[in-house]
């Protein structure tokens, strides 16, 4: 550590930097010579040329003798190689990144001409790792990846959703299906911390890019997720939550290839609640009032029998309406389309990939067009552009230039979709006709209901137009320093990201009407209540930018049986955003080191380290050193393992290391001494006040006196949250590589989690600092199995992935609870707690039994049809001490995916099933109680709620008696309302056909593929109807999720 510290201090001097770089080069100069001399012997010489499929010579191809891997050379800039081969040499192996390995028998040949096949379609041998790529065969870290083909299959608006069910170790929860807001929350190997950010770090082409979701999937070559310490240590401070690496496509040496793809999807909700119709509702409401009467001491039916008849007969649809608000507000179907055209190719000197994409997604509102010139629909449009260039300036100097831009344009009502959907649920079918003769009708007078007509809400809501642009420019220079020592190269990377956001808000109110009954004519009269107003307009802007710099030395060299690679890298980034605290930019600084070693590709070792600093901590606590060690053993390379077709590859690997997290609690500069904060200086027009006084005499000389408050007390010792991760994994290939299996056990121990001092008494009256004292464990397994086979021309494959991650809070300074089971410590993060419902009180005898426990709420007034709760602590009272851990948290512990597919001649198909378990949702207010504030009610409550008759007839009773007040006792979190949210979903099905006709060739088309696919087609779960297992419920009664979408997608790919 002290060495690192003095090193970093040294590095702060520009002069020392220069000296260091030069010295490294000079030192390296001397030792390759010795290595080369050691191998000077007189052996048979062979030579040859290596070219790609277009005949272009390939520089840098590694040529080695399979029987003696120490005999190795590389091709020069003309693709030529010369090699002296030992006597036992029989086979030459040619390897080159981006191309398939090739083996050639030497025989008596002396001169070889070798054509390497482009491996761009099959990069499986390589994986992208932090700051580089590594061969899968010699990898020791836990990394998994997914390619472009699978990503495109999901026809999802954003990258995060497309990953669901595709990658082991990845857990996802989607919060909404609303266009432009439907990204998933991703967790790599579950949740490791209870404070601060749990989000993984996302890097696109080596640059941190938090809003990766808007990248066009057509631009992506591969996505890797880095899971263990060995893979993530190089990211030091930000790697603790795992890392997602996205690599975009690049050009290869070829003629220009143009690819055009277009898809059109029909979208619909996976599920939607169904509310009671007017008659059932009015009758149910009378019942609910009846039961409430016992508590309130008053009962009167709200609707008379005559009124009930009118609701049922639909004879007076204006004043006795039966409105289905869901179908009034929402459409059955909408559409989504995606188009992309890209061109790629290149020569030895210049390679290019350019892509242009357009994505369009429409929402599900029934756009009634009630307001002229105004569209209330949610629409999301995205324009993607990317161009990646690679220039080979000289043999040694290459330059890459990446330019990309994501522009999205979202239009939506300002009312959140969750509010509008909740309004549909809250609105009673009797409250009004909604729309009458094309007019927006307000709730009928006297028909009190909690919510506004949702169509009015939609039309009246201000419209927002949110335009966002994300521009990225990055340049990378690679320079080979083989002159200094062979295998050494240096690179430098600078990247600039610019984000711009324009938020326009248009306000205009439409005309609304009320319906009144005219006593004289005995007819309904429609009278206007609100005038159409003129446009209002407001606009606000947001922007930020980030500059990232990276410079490093890379080294890769093989000495006989020993292969070594090394990496030493410096990076820094600065993020500027006017919204940041004190407008101070956010800076990071780090040194990264990596050494890998392997002996005959058999014994593998790797050491990684990150040494990183962040301004969030005090000088002295600022830099953290994060080492990781890993070892691997490729058992099948051992001589005692005979070559066989059953176990063709077996690798055992393990890693241990530490990674950090500085995103602790979202606040910055917590280390500084206590600062005083001036309170807001304006009057607060709302129901709350800012601290201030209005001294003086009202009407004469009263003035506002502003205030200052003591801020959070400083904690000068604030430092990194640290995560110690260990991983044991195995990679197996069986039956001639037809089956490949990867499985990992992992364990993560987080310490120094920033934790509030919960046990400090409130009487201190101060905002006490948080300390690095929390502790949490997270462990589990993940794995993947692949199988590929063919029957004649029928190729097929199967794939399964599995992830299990369970966390456990070890310490969070929790206040001791009177009973151990109430303690949150020792449980999973966000574990659900609730009462144990043991059926219902069915008779007055049961209710009046003096031995039944006393309910501390509702003044102990119970009646038949109420939940019977278990008195867990046996104190004769039902109160918060009887809440026990129930179910799981709302984030799944288990996620799995199972997919298969195949192709036969031109046909291909694939199917993906995906599921989660060990997850619980709490039934929302809208799904477990009706009539709240005289609101609407889901129909199943009418069918399965407790009533005297239903109890006596022995019917299926699942819910307590109806209620209009939501009496506390029946609707507290309990074993009925905490639902098992496990599910299995038919996530994706695709069928395609590829045309390869001569006619097409004639008009210049290389290939055409037509396909149809479907997403979220079928679901099996245990939830209440209308709840989606992927979308957690809102416990706030004012919101309901916008359900996620089922897409049926028609697509076309044309390659020119």
């Amino acid at each position: 550590m002290t060495i690192m510290n003095s090193l970093i201090r040294g590095l702060k001097k520009p002069f020392l930097w220069s000296v260091l770089v030069v010295l490294t080069m000079l030192f390296a100069e001397s030792f390759p010579v010795m290595a080369q001399e050691a191998r000077e012997t007189a052996l048979p010489k062979i030579s040859g040329t290596v070219v790609d499929s277009n005949g272009n010579p390939l520089q840098g191809v590694v040529v080695k003798v399979k029987e003696n891997t120490a005999t190795v050379t590389g091709c020069d800039d003309k693709g030529k190689f010369n090699l002296s081969i030992p006597n036992n040499a029989k086979t030459l192996v040619f390897t080159f990144l981006g191309f398939k390995d090739q083996e050639i028998l030497i025989g008596r040949n002396k001169i070889f001409k070798v054509v390497l096949e482009d491996a761009s379609v099959d990069l499986e041998d390589f994986v992208v790792v932090g700051y580089g790529t590594q061969r899968k065969a010699t990898l020791t870290g836990a990394i998994t990846n997914v390619g472009t083909k699978e990503l495109l299959q999901s026809s999802q608006a954003n990258v995060s959703n497309a990953l669901v069910g595709r990658l082991s170790g990845l857990l996802a929860v989607q919060n909404s299906g609303e266009p432009g807001k439907d990204a998933s929350t991703l967790r790599i190997r579950g949740i490791g911390t209870f404070a601060g950010s749990q989000d993984p770090l996302v890097m696109v082409d080596g640059v941190e890019t938090p809003n990766y979701n808007t990248i066009d999937a057509n631009e992506i070559e591969t996505i890797s997720i880095l899971k263990d310490a060995s893979a993530t240590a190089v990211y030091g401070v930000r790697g603790a939550n795992g890392v997602i690496l996205i690599t975009t496509k690049r050009g290869t040496v070829s003629k220009p290839k143009v690819s055009f793809s277009s898809t059109l999807a029909i979208t619909s909700f996976t599920d939607l609640r169904k509310n009671m119709d007017a008659y059932d509702w009015a009758k149910g409401f009378n019942d609910a009032l009846y039961y409430d009467g016992y508590l309130t001491g008053k009962y009167g039916a709200r609707y008379t029998d005559e009124e009930l008849v009118k609701f049922r007969d639909h004879t007076d649809p204006l004043f006795y309406p039966d409105t289905d608000w869901y179908s009034l507000l929402l459409k059955k179907n909408s559409s989504q389309s995606q188009n992309n055209i890209n061109i790629s190719g290149g020569t030895e000197k210049v390679k290019y990939f350019m892509s242009l994409g357009y994505f369009n997604q429409d929402g599900m509102y029934n756009n009634s067009g009630m307001l002229n010139g105004y569209d209330s629909q949610v629409t999301y449009k995205r324009y993607n552009y990317r161009s990646n260039f690679d220039f080979q300036v000289t043999k040694k100097l290459s330059v890459s230039l990446n330019i990309s831009n994501q522009l999205d344009d979202r239009k939506a009502p300002e009312w959140p979709a969750e509010g509008l959907i909740a309004n549909c649920a809250a609105q009673t079918p009797t409250s009004g006709p909604g729309i009458w003769e094309g007019k927006l009708i307000e709730n009928l007078p006297g028909r009190y209901t909690f919510a506004q007509n949702p169509v009015i809400s939609l039309v009246m809501s201000p419209k927002i137009q949110n335009f966002q642009n994300q521009f990225n420019l990055s340049t990378r220079i690679n320079y080979k320093l083989d002159d200094i020592t062979k295998g050494l190269s240096t690179h430098f990377n600078i990247s600039y990201q610019n984000y711009y956001n324009e938020y326009k808000r248009l306000t205009k109110s439409g005309r609304t009407y009320t319906a009144l009954f005219d006593e004289v004519t005995q007819q309904g009269v429609i009278l206007p209540t609100g005038e159409e107003t003129t446009f209002g307009y407001g606009v606000s802007y947001g922007k930020n930018r980030k500059i990232y710099l990276e410079g490093g030395l890379d080294y890769a060299r093989t000495f006989g049986d020993h292969s070594i690679t090394g990496l030493l890298l410096y990076n820094q980034s600065k993020y500027y955003d006017p919204g940041l605290l004190y407008s101070v930019p956010n800076g990071y600084q780090g040194l990264v080191g990596r050494i890998t070693y392997n002996y005959q590709s058999k014994y593998l070792a790797e050491f990684d380290a990150g040494y990183n600093g962040t301004e969030n901590f005090a000088p002295g606590k600022r830099f953290g050193f994060f080492p990781a060690y890993s070892l691997g053993w490729v058992v099948t390379e051992e001589s005692f393992m005979p070559k066989n077709d059953v176990v063709s590859y077996l690798k055992v690997r393990g890693s241990y290391g530490e990674v950090g997290n500085d995103k602790i609690g979202g606040e910055r500069f917590l280390y500084r001494p206590t600062a005083y904060v001036y309170d807001a200086t304006g009057d607060n027009a709302g129901a709350s006040l800012n601290p201030a006084q209005y001294w003086g005499t009202y009407g004469q000389d009263m003035t506002r006196f502003n205030s200052v408050s003591e801020g959070k007390i400083g904690n000068p010792n604030l430092t990194w949250e640290r995560s110690a991760k260990s991983d044991i994994g195995v990679d197996i290939k069986l039956w001639k590589d037809k089956i490949s299996i990867t499985a990992d056990y992992f364990n993560e121990h987080r310490t120094k989690i920033l934790t509030n001092q919960n046990t400090s008494p409130i009487i201190v009256g101060a905002n006490l600092p948080a300390y690095n004292m929390g502790e949490m464990n997270n462990h589990g397994v993940d794995g993947e199995i692949n199988f590929r086979e063919h029957l004649g021309e029928f190729n097929y494959w199967l794939k399964g992935i599995f992830t299990f991650a369970r966390n456990n809070i070890i310490f969070m300074d929790e206040v001791p609870q009177p009973y151990a089971y109430l303690q949150r410590t020792g449980k999973s993060y966000n574990q659900n707690f609730g009462y144990i419902a043991e059926g219902f009180y069915n008779t007055w005898e049961e209710v009046n039994d003096v031995n039944r426990p006393v309910y501390e709420f509702q003044n102990n007034k119970l009646q038949p049809g109420d939940f019977k709760y278990k008195d867990v602590n046996g104190d004769g009272l039902i109160n918060s001490f009887d809440q026990v851990p129930l179910g799981y948290s709302s984030f799944p512990e288990i996620s799995y995916g199972f997919s298969f597919g195949g192709d036969y001649k031109g046909f291909d198909f694939s199917v993906l099933f995906q599921g989660s378990s060990n997850v619980s949702h709490i039934a929302s207010k809208k799904s477990n109680r009706g009539f709240q504030e005289e609101g609407g009610c889901v129909s199943y409550l009418g069918d399965y709620s407790w009533t005297q008759e239903r109890y006596e007839s022995g019917a299926d009773i699942r819910f307590p008696h109806l209620s209009s007040t939501g009496q506390v006792s029946n609707y507290m979190a309990n074993s009925v309302w905490i639902e098992d949210a496990s599910y299995l979903r038919l996530k994706n099905v695709e069928i395609g056909y590829t045309l390869n006709g001569r006619f097409l060739k004639k008009i210049g088309i290389q290939s055409t593929r037509l396909y149809i696919n479907g997403t979220n087609l079928l679901t099996w779960d245990h939830l209440l109807p209308g709840e989606d297992p992927e979308v957690p419920t809102y416990n706030d009664g004012n919101y309901e999720p916008y359900p996620i979408m089922r897409n049926v997608n028609f697509g076309l790919n044309i390659g020119f």
Binding site: K13, V21, T490, V584, A675, L689, Y694, V764
Partner: protein, 569 residues
């Protein structure tokens, strides 16, 4: 070509030089701590900012309960006792009190609990720092010191009246200190408050310039002392047998003995307020006549009767005055139980009939003039939007939803406030006003002496006379006088946050007051007459458990192991 490697090396060195330029402080851009405690105590202007915020947390009235971080919707506005019913059944004050749901785990029991300690911390910082602050203004420093002492006493009194013996915060707590301060006894708590009051009384100015109206005066500190000693002398504290026997911890909820001398101290303290008032410019408002003076006092901010008010409110619009947002139909309603407390203009009981009657308007007409200045009943003006209320069962302004049929409580909502002309009003959040101290004095004198002395009658009569009510008949027994003075308090101080705590300190949470049947009156038009038929009905059956004579400390604090919970929770 070979020398081309110079290019990238050059670029790298160049950019590293760029990077290194600010490498030394690359991560060191955190702003200096501009505003520390030393800054705050560097000048009068800065101290004033801190004093302002300390008033915000510490000088609070229960009259308005807004949803800011001092949320007092659990204390206000009368719906947790017999004074009123709010249309919203979930409203924290009535939802916890009226169903006896007060519990350590029910956060709504005292929503402002956390802010007491913020206020005390701020007061302690002022006490600790102000005298040694490095600026020269001894008079100002002494004043702030005394204001801080008052605030510390006032907040401690608020805790005391709710919880009994409190943890006494005599200095600011730092993270390294012993933070777990246990509760002190009732006696220690009262002594601490009185000691702080005495210290403040000695140092506070008698008056301020009008532009500083709202600052704590000597009279305010005397008023706090009077109220504290009145509470301390009251039955619930001044006893050997508390409402629930708490064994060895009895001294946390009461004195542990009954001492009549405490009433004497209370009487003297009330007298001291009344003696101080004339010189300080505080007096009963009488000049607007019997039909308007009372309303003027509660409606007009900064009038001469107000000794101290909460001054943290700017003008507010109708939607921001609690309980009137959904008008008509929903708001705050007086109960029939409380209506019956109002005497006739002649000082007699009203001829209410449990079975109802056809003379409602006649009864209203003959009510104590303060009734009309407190509520808006059928046929009355509410505001310009509703100039004449129709509260009959078919009337447009009758309560809908969960109200109680009776009359709207108007007190605390200025009559000028309305929606249609969008006129704001100034909340008048009274903490101490002169009338209270006449009644404190009368109550204490009556309890101290075996028969009420003349001074006690005189004190009550002054208050009654202002509203045109006749003097009390002389020669009453101690217990009859007690009932009279309690009734007078209920009427005069209605909806100002007194009633609930009076009920608790007198321990009279009986049927019809805090529990049992609560009545409204349904009103019907009588054809061919302006009279209204009324019909009492039970709008709610309320509950009260004895433990509620003290608030429960939050369970979370109990679990931390430094507080003893009040009995019954």
């Amino acid at each position: 070509m070979k020398k081309l490697y110079i290019i990238p090396i050059f670029i790298i060195i160049l950019s590293l030089n760029y990077a290194c330029d600010d490498l030394n402080n690359f991560l060191d851009k955190a702003p200096g701590v501009d505003v520390t405690e030393d800054t705050i105590f560097s000048s009068k202007e800065q101290v004033e900012l801190f004093v302002s915020g300390t008033y915000y947390y510490g000088v609070t009235s229960d009259v308005y309960g807004w949803w800011d971080d001092r949320d007092r919707t659990s204390m206000n506005p009368g719906d947790r006792c017999d004074e009123a019913e709010v249309f919203a059944p979930w409203f924290p004050s009535q939802s916890v009190w009226n169903s006896a749901a007060m519990s350590p785990t029910n956060g709504a029991s005292d929503l402002a609990f956390a802010t007491y300690w913020i206020a005390l911390r701020r007061a302690n910082i002022l006490i600790e720092k102000i005298m040694d602050a490095p600026f020269d203004n001894p008079a100002y420093k002494t004043q702030v010191f005394a204001e801080a002492k008052f605030i510390r006493a006032f907040v401690t009194f608020t805790i005391f009246k709710k919880y009994g013996g409190a943890p006494l915060l005599k200095k600011r707590l730092n993270p390294e200190d012993q933070l777990k301060i246990p509760r002190s006894t009732v006696k220690e708590t009262v002594d601490f408050i009185v000691q702080d009051c005495d210290s403040a009384i000695a140092k506070l100015p008698q008056t301020y310039p009008t532009a500083m109206r709202g600052r704590i005066t000597k009279a305010a500190a005397l008023a706090l002392k009077s109220r504290t000693l009145l509470y301390a002398a009251s039955k619930t504290f001044n006893t050997a047998t508390p409402y629930i026997d708490f064994g060895e911890h009895n001294d946390l909820i009461c004195y542990g003995n009954e001492d009549k001398e405490r009433w004497n101290l209370a009487a003297q303290a009330a007298k001291a307020v009344l003696d101080e008032c004339p010189a300080a410019g505080f007096r009963l408002i009488t000049e607007y006549g019997a039909d308007s003076s009372y309303r003027y006092v509660w409606e007009t901010p900064d009038n001469s009767e107000i000794i101290l008010a909460e001054k943290s409110h700017p003008e507010r619009w109708q939607g921001h005055f609690p309980f009137n947002y959904f008008f008509p139909g929903q708001g705050l309603f007086i109960t029939w139980n409380f209506m019956k407390e109002y005497e006739t203009k002649n000082g007699e009981a009203q001829p209410w009939n449990q079975e109802g009657g056809e003379n409602l308007m006649a009864i209203y007409k003959n009510m104590d003039p303060r009734f009309k200045q407190t509520v808006s009943y059928h046929g009355q003006f509410f505001n310009v939007d509703y100039p004449m209320l129709d509260l009959t069962m078919t009337g447009a302004q009758r309560p809908i939803g969960n109200g109680c049929h009776s009359a709207y409580v108007h007190k605390t909502l200025p009559y000028s406030v309305n929606n249609s002309t969008n006129t704001p009003g100034m909340p008048n959040a009274i903490i101490f006003r002169v009338a209270e101290f006449y009644l404190n004095y009368a109550e204490a004198l009556n309890e101290y002496n075996s028969t009420p002395p003349d001074a006690a009658y005189d004190a009550v009569d002054v208050v009654r006379a202002r509203s045109g009510m006749p003097a009390l008949p002389r020669g009453l027994t101690q217990s009859v006088f007690r009932e009279k003075v309690r009734n007078e308090r209920a009427i005069e101080l209605a909806y100002e946050g007194h009633r609930i705590f009076d009920i608790l300190r007198w321990e009279i949470a009986d049927d019809g007051i805090m529990k049992g049947k609560m009545y409204g009156i349904k009103q019907y038009k009588i054809t061919g007459s302006t009279e209204i038929r009324y019909e009492p009905y039970v709008f709610e059956v309320r509950s009260f458990k004895t433990a509620m004579y003290r608030h429960p400390f939050p369970q979370n604090e109990i679990n931390k192991g430094y507080l003893i919970q009040n009995p019954g929770y």
